[in-house]
């Protein structure tokens, strides 16, 4: 069932999120669900039922006319006339019109060839998918029989693993089919998880880097008085901290390189992946909240050592420096925690933000509609926010050598980011974005 829903969602991923499209999706889903349920009741296997439902689904471009979405049809669909479209001039007209703008129309022979070819490939797609499923069914049955003959009782857990693998494979096949139809690169749940792992590690490293930047001043002030070797140690430690910070920053930005294609290509999460990320975000909610709270408390309390030393007025310069060191340490840890929580949340949001929010694929779950910025320019700017802050910090510090003050940029940047998120963040108040991607029965669609 999940496979079929994912197939449908992927198929529709690039279409605009309008009442008509949602209604079409709803009703197609109703029909597919009914058919699937009945096939299962007739005793077909899950894979067989899925294969049949998908093979008999038909062609998306039949819906272009009733939905008024001709312009939104991705090229893959637009250039794939249906079986009946290949010969009739009427359908051929619009399938062709977009291509004609780009290249000279060289005659009907060529078009006919193309049309036939496209039709062939469309059929192949379904046939290929169905065959894959059937073959696997057969293979599975054979394997199971062999296994039974081999040993009287099979290992139960192994069986479960097999089942899960087959389900995963059919999911992948359906995604590919939908992908070819919609012309979008869709991110699977597995790939989304890989991205999250990398992005969270990057957030840790980045937080640690900032921590080093902030505490780098501490050894200098600590050994300010001392002479000779100790002062030198302070300087060396300072530069080591800066070096470590820069290294961590570089590594962390390198971690996400393998995922550049998500940004370069037109992509979106498939339905299962969107749900997965939404769940992940929900599951880390309390831990990131705790991190942020502790971070803020540490920042606030950081003045205590300094004031404490001052009030006690012991007057020892060393104690003053120690107070200062503690202060920096607490701010460092605090800012690190705040950045960590923001980074982990941000990674989920970045995934959910893939895809055009006005399309089905970009708004299939509730969380997807709540992330991101309204203004695309803000969006672009914010994608390099921490890199920019790092650059400013380093330039400022190295040019003026006021390391004692320049670390302040980190807390300020954190607060500024929170403000920008509040001010320009997309909230779920768009009139067309009310609905959840859930497809259970029809709801509030508009009637013409």
């Amino acid at each position: 069932m999940e496979t079929i829903r994912n197939y449908l969602m992927t198929m529709f991923a690039s279409l605009p999120n309008t009442p008509q499209v949602r209604r079409a999706m709803d009703e197609l889903w109703q029909m597919m669900e009914d058919k699937y349920t009945e096939l299962i009741e007739e005793g077909r296997t899950e894979n067989e039922a899925i294969g049949t439902v998908i093979a008999e689904f038909g062609n998306l471009d039949e819906l272009a006319e009733p939905l008024g979405i001709r312009d939104y049809m991705p090229p893959a669909v637009r250039e794939t006339p249906t079986a009946e479209g290949a010969d009739s001039g009427e359908t051929a007209g619009w399938a062709e019109s977009s291509r004609m703008e780009r290249e000279e129309y060289t005659g009907s022979a060529e078009y006919r060839g193309n049309g036939a070819h496209a039709e062939e490939s469309g059929k192949d797609l379904f046939r290929g998918f169905r065959d894959r499923l059937r073959n696997r069914d057969r293979r599975e049955q054979r394997e199971q029989k062999e296994q039974r003959e081999w040993s009287g009782r099979r290992n139960r857990s192994e069986d479960r693993v097999n089942q899960r693998a087959s389900r995963r494979e059919s999911r992948r096949a359906s995604r590919r089919a939908g992908e070819q139809a919609s012309g979008l690169y869709t991110v699977s749940a597995d790939e989304a998880q890989e991205f999250l792992n990398a992005a969270w590690l990057a957030a840790y490293l980045r937080g640690l880097g900032v921590f080093f930047f902030i505490v780098s001043v501490a050894p200098v002030s600590l050994f300010d008085d001392a002479s000779g070797v100790l002062e030198l140690t302070g300087m060396v430690m300072f530069f080591l901290c800066i070096a470590a910070g820069i290294a961590l920053m570089l590594i962390s930005s390198g971690l996400l390189k393998p995922f550049k294609h998500l940004k370069r290509r037109k992509s979106c999460l498939d339905y299962a992946a969107a749900r997965h990320v939404e769940n992940m975000m929900e599951s880390i909610r309390s831990s990131t909240m705790a991190q942020r709270t502790v971070g803020i408390i540490l920042c606030v309390l950081s003045v205590v050592p300094v004031i404490g030393v001052d009030i006690l007025s012991i007057g020892s310069r060393f104690l003053n420096a120690l107070g200062m060191a503690f202060f920096l340490l607490m701010v460092g840890i605090g800012v690190m925690l705040i950045m960590l929580s923001a980074g982990r949340n941000g990674a989920c949001k970045r995934l959910l933000r893939l895809g055009d929010p006005s399309t089905i694929g970009g708004s299939s779950t509730k969380a997807q509609r709540e992330t991101g910025y309204i203004d695309p320019r803000v969006e672009d700017g914010m994608s390099v926010y921490w890199q920019t802050v790092t650059a400013i910090y380093l330039c400022w510090s190295f040019l003026t050598f006021q390391w004692g003050i320049s670390w302040l940029i980190w807390p300020v940047a954190g607060v500024l980011k929170a403000w920008i998120d509040r001010r320009y963040g997309r909230r779920d108040d768009r009139p067309d974005g009310r609905r959840d991607g859930r497809l259970d029965g029809e709801e509030d669609y508009e009637q013409e």
Binding site: E56, A83, E84
Partner: protein, 124 residues
């Protein structure tokens, strides 16, 4: 012979759907199931074809949609035929009878022209 060409049957999807709605409202899957069984499994209508026919006919006022709780407790969209839908159906039936009459004059599975026809052309 490899099944029905969807190009030919396309003009009559509406007729089939309207026929099935003549005495009671119905919903998507039921209609597709009835088309399949009434045609003796010779014609399977695609989901997208069915849905585009629904929207087109609803726009033309031939059918009306309403949602209702099904037996299994789920909401489902049902379709009901309208008066103008019935008129359209009768028109289509007449059109088909005429079409059938005309086309059948030119149908010869054996690939030979019939005698009577040759006589007609010969005398004129």
């Amino acid at each position: 012979m490899s099944g029905i060409s969807s190009d030919v049957i396309r003009g009559y999807n509406d007729t089939m759907i309207l026929y099935l709605l003549l005495d009671r409202p119905s919903y998507g899957y039921e209609i597709s199931k009835m088309i399949r069984s009434l045609s003796g499994e010779k014609y399977v209508i695609k989901e997208t074809t069915l849905y585009s026919a629904f929207t087109r006919m609803e726009k033309n006022g031939f059918i009306m949609s309403f949602s209702q709780l099904a037996e299994n407790g789920k909401r489902r969209t049902y379709y009901r035929i309208t008066e103008s839908g019935r008129r359209y159906y009768r028109d289509k039936c007449e059109e088909w009878l005429l079409t059938q009459e005309v086309i059948s004059k030119f149908i010869s599975p054996k690939g030979q022209r019939s005698l009577t026809e040759r006589d007609v052309t010969g005398s004129s």
